[in-house]
Every structure is written in structure tokens, then in C-alpha cells.
């Protein structure tokens, strides 16, 4: 039997949580270089809370939008800091974008990625080049839109997105932070990839693997 869209999304969040767990220490180390060293822990707490919140949802009856808004609320209540509002807003926007849909075709996936990216941008008031997670989410969303327009296969679609995300994360090493706590370091942030961008690239990878 084919799994419904809500189950697919729940599985996606499961994969995201695993991906963060596997990188928890690396992310905290990255953060230690330019932040306060807790990014891995924060993300881990956030996604564990998402999994717990989704556990309370009846996935046979829930819509994809329900899964997204439940994830948003779960993440936000557990995390605070700056990652909390950013991802919660992104997921909430994704819930709006998926409202009324019950399949996760490539158009829906594109809308979801674009909504997450837009939500993060609007909440954080950052822009490309500020050395943030947005340097991953924006190119990933753009790659999705381009791949969709070009009529790529599902495999090529996700490949283009993960490549864009990885390039974006790598490029943050050459940027000077202007937002968040790392902004206080100015040039001392150079050469260090942004931990928020690194975790975002891991999340995009997880989404690609799950969907």
C-alpha cells in the first residue's frame, strides 16, 4: 500500500531528527567556533520535541498541513533561542502552503521548500550573504523551483536541491556574519561555516532522502 502524505511527512521529520542526532556534536563544535556552542543540542531538542508532538497525531486522519503546524508548535515550545522562531515560522508557512493538498508531488514539495525558506527569511529579516541558515534554504528553494520548471525527474529534482544546499552551506565560510550572535565576531567569523547553515543542509538532505 502506498503511504499517505501525512505519514510521509512524519517520516520526513523522523529522518530530520536522525540526521541532526548524527551530527549533534559536529554542529556544536561548529557553533563553538563562532557562537555559544549549543547549536547541536538546541536542534536535537527541537526535533525530538517535533517527533513527540507528531506522536500525538492520528496520521491516518491528519492532513499534511496538520503535520506541519504540529511540528511548528512542537519545535517552538521546546527551543526558543533564535532557531525556534525561525523554523517554527518556516514550518507554519509550509502548513499554509500545503493546506488542502493530500499528495506530495514535486510541485507540493517545491511549495513546501519555498514556504520554509520564505518564513525563515521574513522572521529573521536576514538576506542572502548574511551567513545564516538562509544561505542554504534560499538556494535550495530556488533549485526546487528551477528543477520543477525544467520538468526534472524526482531523482534529479532532489539531487539539484541537495547540491544547492551543500554549496550554500560551504559558501558561508567565506561570509562575514551580520545577524545573530556570530555577528559580534565580524571578521573573526571568516573561515568558519555557519552552524545554522550546516544543520540546514543536513535537514535538506534528510527531506530529500525521505521524499
Amino acid at each position: 500500500m502506498s503511504e499517505n502524505a501525512a505519514r510521509a511527512l512524519a517520516r520526513m521529520f523522523g529522518r530530520m531528527s536522525e540526521m541532526i542526532e548524527a551530527r549533534k556534536d559536529t554542529l556544536s563544535e561548529l557553533d563553538g567556533a563562532i557562537g555559544d556552542g549549543d547549536h547541536g543540542i538546541t536542534m536535537s531538542i527541537g526535533f525530538k520535541a517535533v517527533i513527540a508532538a507528531l506522536g500525538g497525531l492520528d496520521l491516518d486522519k491528519a492532513s499534511p498541513a496538520d503535520v506541519m503546524s504540529t511540528a511548528a508548535a512542537g519545535f517552538l515550545d521546546a527551543v526558543g533561542a533564535s532557531t525556534g522562531p525561525l523554523y517554527a515560522t518556516g514550518f507554519r508557512r509550509a502548513a499554509q502552503a500545503l493546506a488542502g493538498r493530500d499528495s506530495l508531488d514535486l510541485a507540493a514539495c517545491t511549495d513546501m521548500l519555498v514556504a520554509i525558506s520564505d518564513g525563515i527569511r521574513d522572521r529573521g529579516k536576514a538576506q542572502r550573504g548574511d551567513k545564516t541558515m538562509l544561505d542554504v534554504w534560499l538556494p535550495a528553494a530556488e533549485a526546487a523551483a528551477t528543477a520543477l520548471a525544467d520538468g526534472r525527474s524526482r531523482q534529479d529534482f532532489w539531487k539539484a536541491i541537495t547540491v544547492a544546499a551543500d554549496n550554500g552551506a560551504a559558501a558561508t565560510a567565506t561570509m562575514v556574519a551580520t545577524k545573530g550572535r556570530a555577528a559580534r565576531l565580524r571578521e573573526r567569523s571568516l573561515g568558519h561555516p555557519d552552524p545554522g547553515a550546516a544543520s540546514a543542509a543536513a535537514l535538506v538532505k534528510a527531506i530529500a532522502e525521505a521524499l
Binding site: L76, A81, G180, R181, E187, G191
Partner: protein, 705 residues
């Protein structure tokens, strides 16, 4: 070396008796021919031949003495550290990017603006590069204009200087025309301008203009250029690319969205240096990237941290053969491109052998489970201060004042991360904050407890959110405000921004909120308690924030309970002025000085901004970052008082102690609230909280913590 008594040339110089036989080495050289040879060579400036004659040995022997002396460490050649750092960075840039040459100016000389120093260095480079008969293309920009202003060359003949792009409006000083003219004038060269706009309305106009014989001829000259000097612009929001109006903002967004990282001579490149295509491409009159890369000597002059990605892109793209930049930018470029060997070499050479590690590997703390510190602290705190506060429902992360909220009163909600105790929890009580939202260590609370606080604090007259200006806090409180407003509670937000070291005065809104929170909370709490309206409460709280000035100095880093290691390091003899309460870097790291000198630096900075006159009144807060004892705080207060009374400024009230800490950081901050009659009245208004209690209005408000 010590002063010599007489020149060895006149002194007892022995005569040679054999090839290596030195019959009499002057006594002062201690029988050491190496020292003698070195002295004659380095101190007396003799040639190796003269030394050979003087010592009675062969020239080859002198040569080997000198070489061995360096090997043996008898002679050490030292270069001033800042210059050495510049040279090291220049060498590494040259090697890493395969440049023909590289000139790096030191950063220690901050007396002149960077543009001027880069201009002088660029001029120095050009004066060596440009030869008679050359055609030098010149791109526009602030830095290149500065090169022109500094340029002096020897007598050169038949040099042509040609503008690399079309012209722009003259609304700024560094137009292509002026920049080119300045360079041409300095070389006494023939100046060829491109007499067309840099950007034209359409591709069609572009084609037509280039067909004009005059412009065609100018482009011919440009295509003959064998040297070019250009600047590199970033696309950061404050770069000249935006402010000059050279480009329209809409197409700029297009290029940004396609990953443009920098601009050279009006052309866009991405982070790898590849051209970025866009709507301006066939409307831009000027040198193309391809033409630029074909020129033999390509001198780029640019510096500043915000330009690092753009410079890196230009270097990766091979557009630069000679780079002129500053040491910090150069080091930044290398670090950004993954060159890490430099850091070790720089610090090694500058600091000599690494200082012994003065930091313990683990800091001792009273802990049960490090992951439970916040909950366990709150258990204890709620039990200890139950007279003043209690949890909202069962939520420990939202605490409400027992006698605080009441119908018709504006509510005051404060909050933030933990680790700053007694901030924020200590300031909840009647006459102060009505509720506090509590996050993890150094980390904002999520919106949920903030909303709970807003609901608990609301008396139907609206609620003030007052908290420090940090990205995370702003986002969570904003989301909470949205939810509270949906529930019919009007919310007004005041961000505290008292840390004057965290950003220049032009960016006052971007400053951090630190210990001055104390004064802002006190004033806001009193205003609310007096039954002022939401508008009035907001206005007077804003005023209190605007008139509060704080500067902190850190001596030692704090350590987190989870890691029990220092978060960062401050050298054994150093301090950091302006460091934030989460360890954010401040304005300068320098050697520690006396307490009075430190206070003087702080007070000078505060006086620069606080327009206080003789007879004015202030409140003073001398605050420990956690580990600094009261003894030292009083030493600081002593000098603060001296400085204020010398200006005949009266201290209306003072607090000395732990009011806004940073875990176990050693250091202190000084906050001054510049009072007016309204603020003074509100400061004296009674309040009862765990940390601050003021009973009698109107009398001396001093209340030790």
C-alpha cells in the same frame, strides 16, 4: 646592541698572519670572530671586503662567519611584528592565489582611514608598475580615486590613461571621469575618457553608441591597455554599489538572487569568480570581464571585511595579478579560502613561544546534573522568593509577581535567557515587573511562556514588553506579541540598548541591552504602578533607555555548566573593554590597567554620549559580571564618584553589586542613568522585589542589593 666606545676601524685591528689566523681580536669581542665580523658588518656598515682586510681573513671566511652567525643565533634579524604580519600575509596571498605580487598594509595604524592607507599603498604599487609607453586602464571607485590622489611617479613618457567604464552622474566624488583624471594628472599622462554613460537605457542604445566613431576610438584605446587598476565592490547593503546609485536597485536584486558576490568595473561575478548574467549586461558600456582578464597587469586595490567574499571571488576568477589590501582583510581572505596555516605562523611569530595555558581544563561548579541547572535553580529561587513571585499555573518558565498585576494597570513583562541572575527574575514584584519569562542559559525563552506572562500581567490596560536587544529574544517576543494581541492584549515593546560599546552611536538601535536593564525596568515598573497609560508608560520607558549608558570590561571568560570550560580566552595580562554579557567581543582587547584608568576609559566614553551638565543628576550602577567581588566594585565606584563630582554631577542614587551577571565571568560594568525630574521621581517610587526594595518615596534612593 650596546654603544661602542671607538670604531674598530680605528681601534686595534690586527694584521693577518695567515689565511684563517686572526692574531688579535679586540678584547671587547670576547675572542669571538663571529661577533667581531657581525659587528663590523651590521653596526659599522663595512663591506665584506673591508671586514676581510680588517680581520685579516679571506672574504669567503667573512661571508661564512656572517652566515653562521645567523644560524647560531648570534645575530637575530627582527622585523616589527605588524610589518612582519603584513609581509607574511602578502607572501601567503601571493603563493595561494598565484599572484605576480601583493602588497599588504598593516592594520595597527588606525590613525588614518583605511581608504587613504589603501590609496597610498595602491599608488606605491602603481608607481613601480607603470612604465613609459604604457596604456593604463582605470576603473572608478572611492579607493581608486584615493590611489590617484596619492600617486607620484618618476618622469614617464607616452603613458595613456584610459577610463575603463562609461561615466555616471556626478552626485558623488569618485566618478569614473574624476578617478581617471586624477590618475592621469599624477602621471602627467594623456587622459582618454569614455564619453558615454556607464549604463544606458537599452541594449539598442548600447549598440548605437558603440558604433559612434568617437566612442569606438576610445574603446580601441581601452583594448590596447596593458595595465589596469580597479577596485572591488561587495554587494553588502552598505556598499558604495548601493549608495552611489551607479546601479538601479531592481536589477541589483536580480544579480543578488543569482548569487553575485562582487562587482569589478561594473561587472558582476559569483563567489567562484564566474560572470553572473543579468539585465544590465548588454546595457553596460565599459570593459568586459574577458577584456579585463586579458590585460597583462591587473592591479586590484580593495580592503574591508565586508569585501572579503567579493575579493575572494575576484581572486578565484583570476581577475587580479597584483593585489593591494590590508592585513585584516588579507588574513580574512586566506581564512575564508581555508588557509589555516597562517594563523599559527602569525601568532607564533608575533607572540613568540605560546604562553603557558593559564586556564584550568575544567571549572569547578556546584552541580547535580548539568542539564537540569535551569530547573533546579528555579526550584530554589521560587522557594526562596515566594513572598514576591510564583509560577503562572505550573509553568516554572513563567513567573508572576504576587502583588503585581491589578485591574486597570499596565502590565510589565520582562525576560530573557538565564545565567544573568539576578537579572531577570530578581526584578519581579510590586512596583517592578509583573511577570518574567525565562529561557535556557544565554538563550531566549520561547513564545509560549512569554504569552503566559502577558496574560498573567494584563490588567486590561495593555502590557509592556521590555527586554534586551538580541536577535533570538526579538523573534520570540515578537511571536508572543502577535499571539497576545490576537487574544486582545495590546502589547508595546521597548528593546533595551544601553551597551554603548556594542555599536557606534549612528547604529544606536542595533546596540545590546546589558546591566542598564536595571534602570529601565525600575522606571517602567514605577510608571505602570503609578497607573500611567500604556502610551505614557511606553514613552517614559523609552526615555529611560535612551538616557542609560553602560560600558563593561571583562577580565576572564565565563564557563557554561554543561562544558565547565571557559567559553573563550582572555590572555593572562589582558582585558576586553566593551565585552557583552554573553561574552560578545567588545571594542578593544588591551593590556589590563589600573582600576582608575579603566574607569576613566569607561567614563570618558559615557561622557562622550551623555550630554550632562554641571548640576545634573544621575543614578549609578556598578555591576559585577559574576566573579568580581564587591571589594573591587567599590574601588571602581570610588573613581566613578570622583569623575562625576569633578564635573559637578550629583549622584541621586547608586547601586553596587551583582545586578546583571554573566555566569562566573570576571569583570564589571558601569551604568549611568541621566535623570530628569520625571525619571528621578519614578526611580524613587516604592517597589518590593527579591533584589530591589525601595520603601520611602522622595528620600535618598540608595538601596544596597
Amino acid at each position: 646592541m650596546a654603544l661602542k666606545t671607538s670604531s674598530p676601524r680605528k681601534g686595534g685591528i690586527g694584521r693577518a698572519s695567515g689565511a684563517e689566523g686572526i692574531d688579535s681580536i679586540p678584547l671587547r669581542y670576547g675572542d669571538d670572530p663571529y661577533v667581531w665580523a657581525c659587528w663590523l658588518y651590521y653596526e659599522d656598515g663595512m663591506t665584506q671586503g673591508e671586514i676581510a682586510a680588517a680581520m685579516g681573513v679571506s672574504r669567503a671566511t667573512v661571508n661564512s662567519y656572517l652566515a653562521d652567525a645567523r644560524e647560531k643565533g648570534i645575530v637575530n634579524i627582527s622585523i616589527e611584528p605588524a610589518r612582519l604580519a603584513s609581509l607574511t600575509i602578502a607572501q601567503e596571498l601571493k603563493r595561494h592565489f598565484g599572484l605576480a605580487d601583493c602588497l599588504v598594509v598593516p592594520n595597527d595604524d588606525d590613525t588614518r582611514p583605511l581608504i587613504g592607507r589603501l590609496g597610498a599603498a595602491g599608488a606605491q604599487a602603481l608607481s613601480k608598475i607603470v612604465k613609459s609607453g604604457d596604456t593604463l586602464a582605470v576603473a572608478w571607485g572611492r579607493t581608486i580615486l584615493s590611489v590617484g590622489e596619492h600617486l607620484e611617479t618618476g618622469p614617464l613618457q607616452d603613458v595613456t590613461v584610459v577610463q575603463a567604464t562609461g561615466g555616471t552622474t556626478a552626485s558623488f566624488a569618485y566618478t569614473p571621469e574624476l578617478t581617471t583624471a586624477a590618475v592621469a594628472r599624477a602621471i602627467s599622462a594623456r587622459c582618454v575618457n569614455i564619453t558615454a554613460p556607464a549604463i544606458v537605457a537599452s541594449a539598442q542604445t548600447h549598440r548605437m553608441l558603440l558604433e559612434e566613431p568617437l566612442i569606438h576610438e576610445q574603446f580601441d584605446t581601452l583594448s590596447r591597455a596593458n595595465r589596469i587598476v580597479f577596485g572591488i565592490s561587495s554587494l553588502r547593503p552598505n556598499s558604495t554599489i548601493h549608495t552611489s546609485g551607479f546601479f538601479e536597485s531592481v536589477p541589483l536584486q536580480h544579480y543578488l538572487a543569482k548569487g553575485a558576490a562582487g562587482v569589478l568595473a561594473g561587472r558582476f561575478i559569483d563567489e567562484r569568480g564566474r560572470p553572473v548574467a543579468g539585465p544590465l549586461d548588454d546595457r553596460t558600456i565599459g570593459i568586459s570581464l574577458e577584456m579585463l582578464r586579458g590585460i597583462g597587469t591587473r592591479v586590484a586595490v580593495a580592503g574591508g571585511f565586508d569585501k572579503v567574499p567579493a575579493l575572494l571571488a575576484a581572486l578565484r576568477g583570476g581577475y587580479v595579478s597584483v593585489l593591494v589590501t590590508d592585513a585584516a582583510t588579507g588574513a580574512g581572505i586566506l581564512r575564508a579560502d581555508g588557509v589555516t596555516s597562517l594563523d599559527g605562523r602569525l601568532s607564533q611569530r608575533q607572540k613568540g613561544p605560546a604562553a603557558a595555558n593559564t586556564y584550568r581544563t575544567q571549572v569547578k561548579k556546584f552541580l547535580n546534573n548539568p542539564n537540569d541547572v535551569v530547573e533546579e535553580m528555579l526550584d530554589g529561587l521560587i522557594a526562596a522568593h515566594s513572598a514576591y513571585l510564583k509560577p503562572v499555573g505550573t509553568a516554572q518558565r513563567a513567573l508572576v509577581a504576587r502583588n503585581g498585576p491589578r485591574a486597570g494597570k499596565v502590565g510589565l513583562v520582562i525576560g530573557g535567557g538565564t545565567g544573568h541572575e539576578p537579572c531577570f527574575v530578581g526584578y519581579v514584584g510590586k512596583g517592578l515587573a509583573d511577570a518574567v519569562a525565562i529561557g535556557n542559559i544565554f538563550s531566549s525563552p520561547p513564545p509560549d511562556p512569554i504569552v503566559k506572562c502577558a496574560v498573567a500581567a494584563s490588567g486590561g490596560a495593555g502590557v509592556l514588553f521590555v527586554y534586551g536587544n538580541y536577535a533570538g529574544d526579538v523573534m520570540n517576543f515578537e511571536m508572543a506579541a502577535e499571539v497576545a494581541e490576537e487574544q486582545g492584549i495590546p502589547i508595546r515593546t521597548i528593546l533595551t540598548t544601553d551597551d554603548i560599546a556594542s555599536s557606534p552611536v549612528e547604529d544606536k538601535e542595533g546596540r545590546r541591552g546589558v546591566a542598564g536593564n536595571f534602570f529601565v525596568f525600575k522606571v517602567a515598573g514605577a510608571a505602570c504602578d503609578r497607573g500611567m497609560t500604556l502610551d505614557q508608560c511606553e514613552a517614559v520607558t523609552r526615555k529611560a533607555n535612551d538616557r542609560t549608558y553602560t560600558v563593561g570590561v571583562a577580565l576572564e571568560s565565563c564557563s557554561m555548566p554543561q562544558t565547565r570550560r571557559h567559553n573563550f580566552e582572555i590572555g593572562p595580562d589582558d582585558m576586553e573593554i566593551g565585552m557583552g554579557i554573553h561574552g560578545e567581543p567588545g571594542v578593544s582587547r588591551e593590556r589590563i590597567r589600573t582600576a582608575d584608568e579603566i574607569v576613566d576609559t569607561i567614563m570618558d566614553n559615557i561622557f562622550k554620549e551623555m550630554k550632562a551638565e554641571a548640576g545634573d543628576r544621575v543614578a549609578v550602577l556598578v555591576n559585577s559580571f559574576g566573579a568580581t567581588p564587591l571589594m573591587e566594585l567599590y574601588i571602581l565606584y570610588r573613581r566613578v564618584e570622583q569623575r562625576l563630582s569633578a564635573k559637578n554631577i550629583a549622584i541621586e542614587a547608586n547601586w553596587v553589586g551583582h545586578y546583571c551577571t554573566s555566569l562566573d565571568m570576571a569583570g564589571a560594568s558601569i551604568s549611568i542613568l541621566h535623570l530628569d525630574s520625571q525619571l528621578a521621581e519614578l526611580l524613587h517610587h516604592p517597589c518590593q522585589s527579591a533584589i530591589l526594595t525601595i520603601n520611602t518615596p522622595g528620600t535618598d534612593g540608595s538601596a544596597p542589593g
